[in-house]
């Protein structure tokens, strides 16, 4: 198990190096120029060259890349923002919490509502409840996030003034952003739960459970749901990635000081170190989520757990007992 986690963590290294390389490359070939962006409208060639040397942009691409990676590894230094002159790592730490909070709350809303909706929908297939759930989830699934965000703002911040439209002032400010990003995920999780459960309730072991005389609730919850979880967990992990990277939209609309807005401003200002820092944090977060998803698979499905443990000793011991009592 530890070996599995260790191997997966080691895999993070090439993935992160690759991610950094890609952002670096995009910044390098991107037509904008951070030096002229910083100096504003009028400057002399001399001023321009000095600024370029100050930012270290005179050095070749590979040298800059190597230096950047070295600083991160040795000092945890993500560079300094061109515009605010503050260390990027400080900015990232400040902003990360907001994005993470919105993502986690949205996912929780989606799980708490989506899972039961999907189960009901599958167990009572083609009933009124199923049709209602299906229609509502289709509506939300096909609604673009930014539009939903604007509509929520219009409805609950402007017309009925119960939630603030922007900024952070207490718990109320979190409601609309979390709803805006969570609602479409409720729909996705509902759909996934429904199809996964529909598949499971037709399995033979569900019939076995019924033949034991168990009541329907136990049959569905104890024997059905756990078997249906794998694709649902995959979806949740996937959604988390979308939420973090999609935070740009929701945070911009609701003016939340998160990673998304930080990255947006940085892109406008050609603030390379900040852009790179944001992308690295998001990439790392998505890698960690994927690792967690894989670990959760193991807890849900003993067969996957066994593959993760994969120790030869366990396998040999099992073969022995199987050999002794094999039919």
């Amino acid at each position: 198990m530890l070996k599995f986690v260790g191997r997966r963590v080691l895999w993070l290294i090439p993935v992160m190096l690759g991610a950094i390389f890609i952002v670096f490359a995009i910044n390098a070939i991107d037509p904008g120029d951070p030096v002229s962006a910083l100096l504003g409208g009028s400057y002399t060639q001399e001023q321009y060259d000095d600024k370029k040397i100050e930012l270290g942009l005179d050095k070749p691409f590979i040298v800059r890349y190597a230096g950047y990676v070295k600083d991160i590894v040795t000092d945890g230094d993500f560079g300094t923002s061109y515009t605010t002159k503050r260390p990027v790592s400080t900015e990232l730490v400040e902003r990360f919490g907001v994005t993470f909070k919105v993502a986690v709350i949205s996912i929780l809303i989606a799980i708490v509502l989506g899972l039961p909706f999907g189960i009901i929908s599958a167990v009572k297939q083609y009933s009124i409840a199923d049709n209602a759930v299906t229609i509502i989830s289709l509506v939300f699934a096909s609604m673009p996030g930014f539009w939903l965000a604007l509509m929520l703002m219009l409805a609950f911040a402007l017309n009925i003034k119960i939630f603030p439209a922007s900024g952070i002032e207490g718990w109320k400010s979190w409601v609309l952003p979390c709803l805006a990003s969570g609602l479409s995920f409720i729909a996705t999780i509902t759909r996934m739960t429904r199809s996964s459960m529909l598949d499971v309730v037709r399995q033979d072991y569900i019939r076995t459970a019924r033949a034991k005389g168990l009541d329907e609730r136990t049959v569905i919850v104890k024997h059905g749901v756990r078997n249906a979880l794998i694709p649902i967990i995959t979806t949740i992990g996937f959604q988390f990635g979308i939420l973090v990277s999609g935070s740009v939209i929701v945070e911009t609309i609701f003016s939340l000081p998160g990673l998304g807005t930080l990255m947006m401003t940085a892109i406008n200002n050609r603030d390379y170190p900040v852009i790179e820092g944001c992308v690295i944090i998001m990439a790392a977060l998505i890698c960690v989520i994927n690792l967690l998803v894989d670990l959760v698979y193991g807890f849900v499905d003993p067969q996957i757990m066994e593959q993760m443990k994969g120790s030869k000793k366990a396998r040999r011991a099992r073969h022995k007992t199987m050999g002794a009592h094999a039919l």
């Binding site: 399995q203 033979d204 072991y205 019939r207 076995t208 459970a209 019924r210 033949a211 034991k212 005389g213 168990l214 009541d215 024997h223 756990r226 078997n227 849900v300 499905d301 003993p302 067969q303 099992r318 007992t321 199987m322 009592h325 094999a326 039919l327």
Partner: protein, 331 residues
């Protein structure tokens, strides 16, 4: 007093493509301790009959249209679902065809056995688990493997777990739906022997669903031959094997390769099982019957008792008997 008496049981699947007549008014009864073999081709309605007795016919699309299932003199079809749940797994249990898929893949096998014990015995969790381990031991699975998951067992071992679940509450009636079809031949014999032993030990009656006449000969006291949702011949093992009367049963025996002589070709029954959404008029077997007469195409034969305990649905069994000496059939 019969343990189980099925009267005019009719089960249809109402699908978009039509009304599938799976079971068409079958009646039979069995005494305590009996083993009844329910024999027929794929699609004859054997499994649906079994699910009907358990009241587990998937609904929709399945529907029990009429009939009575008297178990211990009580009509199961009239019972509310909650009452029925107390019977399932407790007084009547079922072994399913495919052990590979019949067990929950994410639950330890001892827990799967303990679950049914706990449900019906009122024991607490740890006592149920102890009973489950005893039961696993009875079916030949060492207790130390109780904590394993189904994927860690072979097919035969899984079927043993399924049998342990079915017998954990010492049911009065065990319905085994092709319990050995999915297993290797060598393992088939072991599992059947074990089921027979346990049946004796617990005094359980059994309905054995199969298409293997060899298994029937080894284990059953009574045999019901099913065709297109009807029991076409019913009798004791001896009646069916030695006094074979129905042309379909004769066809079944003829399609077996005889062990005594060397044959190059098998003699299958010509034709296919009729489409259950569109059964032939008259006797359902008439399109394939070598002795078919005009009457057979028009009128469905009634159930006729030809000797005590031996009944048959055929218009011409009397003539057949004269035409075909019974001894020839027995071979």
């Amino acid at each position: 007093m019969s343990l189980l008496e099925v009267k005019d049981l009719t089960i249809h699947y109402l699908t978009d493509d039509g009304d599938v007549s799976a079971v068409n008014g079958i009646s039979f009864s069995m005494e305590k301790g009996d083993t009844l073999g329910l024999v027929g081709e794929t699609g004859a309605g054997k499994s649906t009959t079994a699910l009907g007795i358990m009241r587990l016919v998937p609904n929709p699309p399945g529907k029990i249209l009429r009939g009575e299932i008297l178990f211990d003199e009580e009509d199961l079809l009239a019972k509310p679902e909650a009452e029925m749940r107390k019977i399932r797994g407790n007084k009547i249990s079922m072994i399913f065809q495919d052990p590979m898929t019949a067990l929950n893949p994410v639950m330890r096998v001892d827990e799967q056995v303990a679950e049914v014990v706990k449900r019906h015995s009122g024991l607490n969790k740890s006592d149920s688990l102890r009973r489950a381990l005893d039961m696993l031991q009875t079916v030949g699975i060492p207790p130390e493997r109780g904590g394993d998951y189904p994927h860690q067992f072979s097919g035969g071992m899984k079927q043993r777990v399924v049998i342990a679940i079915a017998l954990a509450c010492t049911p009065q009636l065990l319905i085994a739906d092709e319990p050995t079809t999915a297993l290797d031949v060598t393992i088939q014999a072991q599992v059947l022997d074990m089921m027979n032993d346990l049946k004796q030990e617990f005094g359980t009656s059994m309905i054995l669903i199969t298409h293997d006449l060899g298994i029937v000969a080894e284990t059953c006291d009574k045999v019901a031959i099913m065709y297109a949702g009807k029991i076409v011949e019913y009798g004791s093992l001896r009646d069916i094997f030695k006094q074979t009367a129905h042309p379909y049963t004769i066809g079944l025996f003829n399609s077996l390769p005889p062990a005594s002589s060397d044959v190059k070709r098998l003699k299958p029954i010509p034709g296919l099982m009729p489409d259950p959404t569109d059964l032939p008029t008259g006797c359902s077997f008439h399109p394939r019957c070598p002795f078919c007469q005009e009457l057979c195409t028009e009128k469905a034969p009634e159930d006729k008792i030809i000797s005590p305990g031996h009944s048959i649905r055929c218009h011409f069994y009397q003539e057949l008997k004269e035409k075909r000496p019974v001894a020839e059939v027995g071979k």
